[in-house]
């Protein structure tokens, strides 16, 4: 069990990704914690990394031509996918933890986790390109709304769909509720994707196939 988890963690990401949290931690120490001043920037940038990392996880299995063998083994695919997700997300969580104070973790992590889980579900249901396009589209709309400070995005029902709220003028309590809402949706999408993992092979059958 432990050995399996170790293998999955190794297969999930390149060890070089750990340079990101380490570099950010060093930067934080060197700047005396002044990274907090650009918190809004991190709220925009970090969520982009999560869906990219998740889709690269799905995509690599096919580009390395390892997918067919994995599918044809009797081991359950849910723990495989879960362990690999942990492997991908852990360095990103650490990067957030190294950059911002614990009080702001939720603000930065929630949109990232939400977009990652959306990428995972859409990637499993359709294909990798759609899995990346849907969350990036949501990110772009949220960015545009936040950047132009559209009123519907911050003070109406629409604010629940906007990923970036730190500069929105909403009360800290309202932001907290929305971020928790994002995490709840992410948890729901994760559950769906784990349920789908057993049929991952079928849903992820290559559309461009060989017929020999």
């Amino acid at each position: 069990m432990r050995k399996h988890f170790f293998y999955e963690m190794r297969l999930a990401v390149h060890p070089a990704i750990w340079l990101l949290p380490i570099a950010l931690a060093i930067l934080r120490v060197v700047t005396g914690g002044s990274l907090e001043r650009v918190l809004v920037f991190f709220e925009f940038v970090y969520p982009l990394l999560f869906p990219i990392a998740v889709i690269s996880l799905l995509r690599r299995e096919r580009s390395d031509r390892t997918f067919e063998v994995l599918v044809a083994t009797p081991h359950r695919k849910t723990p495989v996918l879960l362990a690999r997700l942990v492997g991908v997300m852990l360095p990103l969580f650490c990067a957030v933890a190294a950059t911002v104070s614990p009080g702001n973790w939720l603000s930065v992590l929630a949109p990232g986790v939400l977009l990652a889980m959306l990428a995972l579900v859409t990637g499993l249901v359709w294909k990798d390109e759609i899995g990346l396009a849907v969350p990036l589209g949501w990110w772009a709309v949220s960015f545009a709304v936040s950047f132009t400070q559209m009123t519907w995005g911050h003070h109406a029902v629409g604010s629940w769909f906007i990923l970036f709220l730190l500069g929105s003028g909403l009360s800290p309590e309202a932001i907290l509720w929305r971020k928790l809402g994002h995490l709840a949706v992410a948890a729901m999408l994760l559950s769906v994707s784990l349920l789908m993992a057993e049929t991952w092979p079928r849903s992820a059958s290559p559309r461009r196939h060989r017929t020999s």
Partner: protein, 282 residues
Amino acid sequence: MIRLDGLSKDYGDVHALRPTDLRIDSGVFGLLGPNGAGKTTLIRMAATTLPPSGGSITVCGHNPVQEPVAIRRMLGYLPQDFGAYPKLKGREYLEYVAILKNLRHPKPQIDALLSQFGLTDVATRRVTTYSGGMLRRLGISQALLGEPRVLLIDEPTSGLDPEERARFREFLMDLGGSRIVVLSTHFVEDVAATCDRLGVLDRGTLCYHGTPRELIERFRGTVFEVSVPEAEAGERTDTWGGSVLSTRRDLDARVVRLTKDVEGSHEVAPTLEDAYLALLRS
């Protein structure tokens, strides 16, 4: 037994496999056909990695759609497009596959397979440094882990040099016995050397299944050989058109095998390759 009843697979308008009935018993079964014939599609459906569009398939009594795990427990599978995780070393890759196959204490088996396929010396090297032949041997090693009852091997000799191919054929001959081995290939020599029975697929249709000898017998008396001067070879083979099976150079002449009795030709005993090509032309 692998049993196909009207099994078919369509990709939109493309019929990758038309409704097919087939029984595959213990022993080495060769699945022969040109590229695009539907061999890989059939193998993938048996390997539970591709759902059928119609009909049904059972592997040792289990349906791949309803009971995929039951099949995967007894399955060894070498896909056509085999790849190994580039981060892992040869031995690590086999250890990882052993975990996925739920094997306990796989080390002796891994050692034996590495030795059998001449990979012991490179077992601690990353798979990215492997040649095509080594990777193929690693692929067949992972398929054999757990001593599976059903072995599906898709184009195992593609990319192997002649020596490796010969070694692989020897190994395949020993594999049959109580095991079901399905070997998909477009190399007639591989089937001739290793298979008890074969099926020929062409454009998604199973056009023959039986023993290699029966296929040869079917075309006995219909294969001829003629030697033509090199200078006339092009013109004359054009005249004979689709009846030409194969051509080989012999000093300053070309020896043409064909399914038509032409001037100067004599009847020859067909080889499996002649019979296979004649079948595809017919």
